[in-house]
Each structure stands twice: as structure tokens, then as C-alpha cells.
């Protein structure tokens, strides 16, 4: 990504949301902007409408669990299909209360992505029209991609210490 494109994007956010940006970095030629969690939806909406950015395609949104920091990272990746520019916006939520407003008001595609993120990480999206599990069985009681839960199915009997060192 060209330096002037980067600067233009950061400038667009800073002009309206001063002090919201915590950190900006280029990771594998991918502009990553870490923001404070409160105004994330407003920032995305602003980037959607502003003529200089027009990030009108939501590539993906997902979460990352950081057990050492007791935090869940929420990541939004946006794409401008006209200029072919991409950015990544990142916020951090406390593990005790991972709550963030829904993005479904701006992108209908966020509906299933947010359900998936809830399903695997337990992130609660306020205002989501149908926040329930999407991929896992409905009676599952854990959020399987959080690090405190083991990957393995605990009912397995044929893998004992003798053979597999469990």
C-alpha cells in the first residue's frame, strides 16, 4: 500500500475521531489500525461513507483470544473495491464482558459472521437480530476456540495414557 493512501485513511479517521486511534502498523503490507473499543461502529460507518475511503465491502470479521492479556481481539477487515485498498481495524474487549455493538445495521453480511464469532468466542453483539449458534450444535455449552477449553472431545475412551500419553 502506498504511503499516501495510508496517510489518507488515517487522516480520515483522525479528522472526525480524534484520539480514537491507539496504534497503526503495516503487517505484511496490510494497514492495521488499533482503535479504542467504544466508537468502532461509528468509525466503520464513517469510512464507508467518506468519499476518500469508501470502504464498502466487509471482507471478514472475527475474534482472537489472547489468554495472557485476558482479552478478546475483534478484527474487522474492509475493502474498497474501486481503489482495491484494504484495511484491518482491531479493538480489544475484556474477557469478562466481551460486548460490542452489532455491525449488521451497515453490512447485512455481518449477520452470520457475528453469529460465528459468538459461537466460537462468546462475543456478544448488542442489537444483533438473531444471535445464536450457527456452526456448532445448539446444546454446546462452551465457546470452543477460547484457549481455556481443550480441543479434544473429553468422552473419548480409546486414547489412554498408555498409548497416547494423555
Amino acid at each position: 500500500m502506498e504511503l499516501e493512501d495510508q496517510e489518507k485513511i488515517i487522516e480520515t479517521i483522525q479528522a472526525k475521531f480524534e484520539g480514537e486511534i491507539l496504534r497503526t502498523e503495516m503487517l505484511y503490507d496490510f494497514l492495521t489500525i488499533t482503535l479504542k473499543q467504544e466508537k468502532i461502529i461509528e468509525v466503520i460507518t464513517h469510512l464507508y461513507h467518506h468519499p476518500d475511503t469508501k470502504f464498502q465491502y466487509l471482507t471478514t470479521l472475527f475474534a482472537v483470544h489472547y489468554p495472557d492479556q485476558n482479552q478478546i481481539g475483534m478484527v474487522y477487515q474492509l475493502h474498497n473495491l474501486v481503489t482495491n485498498l484494504r484495511i484491518r481495524l482491531k479493538i480489544y474487549l475484556p474477557i469478562e464482558n466481551p460486548t460490542v455493538p452489532t455491525l449488521t445495521g451497515l453490512f447485512a453480511a455481518a449477520n452470520w459472521m457475528e453469529r460465528e464469532t459468538y459461537d466460537f468466542f462468546g462475543v456478544l453483539f448488542e442489537g444483533h437480530p438473531n444471535l445464536k449458534r450457527i456452526l456448532n450444535v445448539e446444546d454446546m455449552i462452551i465457546f470452543p476456540l477460547r484457549k481455556e477449553y481443550p480441543l479434544e472431545d473429553q468422552v473419548r475412551e480409546d486414547k489412554n495414557d498408555l498409548m497416547f500419553g494423555r
Binding site: L135, N136, V137, M140, I142, P144, Y149, L151, E152, D153, V155, R156, D158, K159
Partner: protein, 185 residues
């Protein structure tokens, strides 16, 4: 005793019985068992690579039709044998169970491959650790995936069960208790 016709076709063995000029007497159970054994309609429930091996088993080279299983039934209502081939995710569990419940008695289940039998390499939160957690299984075929010869061997073991099964088995208390254990009425 196995007999061979003039054109070289091998005939199957006769069941035990009393033979005389113009008649042959045996028990009904043996006749029914022989008929069932050689006309099993399998329902293939194929979800992954074991299903590909099954396709080879049904193909001209291995040809499961030689064992009287020419006709696959894609409706559980007409099927005798449920062949489960592949990884069954926990979300697929209720579907498999419903398919089993829709089959009419007598019904048999063949679990093909490591995943269907035990979860296989997929020791993970989303995969059912063996289909015998939700439905009763008659024969397990090991392998990852098993070769067609192994699947045929499993089918032949099912044939043996079908042939020798008592006509009253499905009415027995043991069988009802088995189904009850799985919560199938």
C-alpha cells in the same frame, strides 16, 4: 455341498434339511435367512473418503452386486443395511439417528472406517466419537480409509449375521433393551 452346473456357475450351499424325491424340508428360519442374506439393500451414508472407497466397492472391479447388494436404497424405508462411511460431525448425529429410525426392521448397521467407528483422527469438540454413541452397530470395519476388500469383508460378516439371525430376535427383550439404551422406541 457346493455344486457346479454344466455352464460353470457355482451354486450356493443348501441349508440343513431333509431331502427326498420331489421335496426338501428345512426350517423356515433357514430359508428366510438365506433369502435375506442374498438380497441386502444397503443405504450408503457416505460423508468422506470412506465413501470414495465405497464407490470403488460398488464399481465393476470389486462389484458388491456379486453379494446380492446390487440395489442401493437411497430411501431408509426400503433399506436393510445402513452403511455409515466417514466422519460424522455432532451436528450430523441427529440426522443419522433419524435415518436409522426410519428404517424398517430387520435392520443392520455397518460402520466403515476409523471415523465412523471411533471418531478416528478427529478427536475434537465438533466430531461424534463413534456412531455407536447414538445408534447400535453390528459390524465395524477398521481402516483409514479401508480398502474395498475390507468393506466387502464387512458386508460378508453382515451377511453371516443376517443368515443366522433368529426370526424372533427382533421381538426379544434383549433387543428391546438394546434399543432402549439408545433411546430408540
Amino acid at each position: 455341498m457346493e455344486a457346479t452346473t454344466a455352464s460353470g456357475i457355482k451354486l450356493g450351499t443348501k441349508p440343513e434339511g431333509v431331502e427326498g424325491p420331489g421335496f426338501f424340508a428345512t426350517s423356515l428360519e433357514k430359508v428366510v435367512g438365506m433369502a435375506r442374506k442374498n438380497s441386502i439393500w444397503p443405504l450408503p451414508f457416505a460423508t468422506s473418503c470412506c465413501g470414495i472407497e465405497f464407490m470403488a466397492t460398488m464399481g465393476a472391479h470389486y462389484d458388491l452386486a456379486r453379494f446380492g447388494s446390487e440395489r442401493l436404497s437411497f430411501s431408509p424405508r426400503q433399506a436393510d443395511l445402513l452403511m455409515v462411511m466417514g466422519t460424522i460431525a455432532k451436528k450430523m448425529g441427529p440426522v443419522l439417528r433419524q435415518v436409522y429410525e426410519q428404517m424398517a426392521e430387520p435392520r443392520w448397521v455397518l460402520s466403515v472406517g476409523a471415523c465412523a467407528s471411533s471418531g478416528g483422527i478427529f478427536d475434537t469438540y465438533s466430531v461424534l466419537q463413534g456412531i455407536d454413541r447414538i445408534i447400535p452397530v453390528d459390524v465395524y470395519v477398521p481402516g483409514c480409509p479401508p480398502r474395498p476388500e475390507q468393506i466387502i469383508d464387512g458386508v460378508m460378516k453382515i451377511q453371516k449375521l443376517v443368515e443366522t439371525e433368529s426370526l424372533r430376535r427382533r421381538d426379544s427383550d434383549e433387543y428391546k433393551a438394546l434399543l432402549n439404551k439408545y433411546g430408540i422406541a
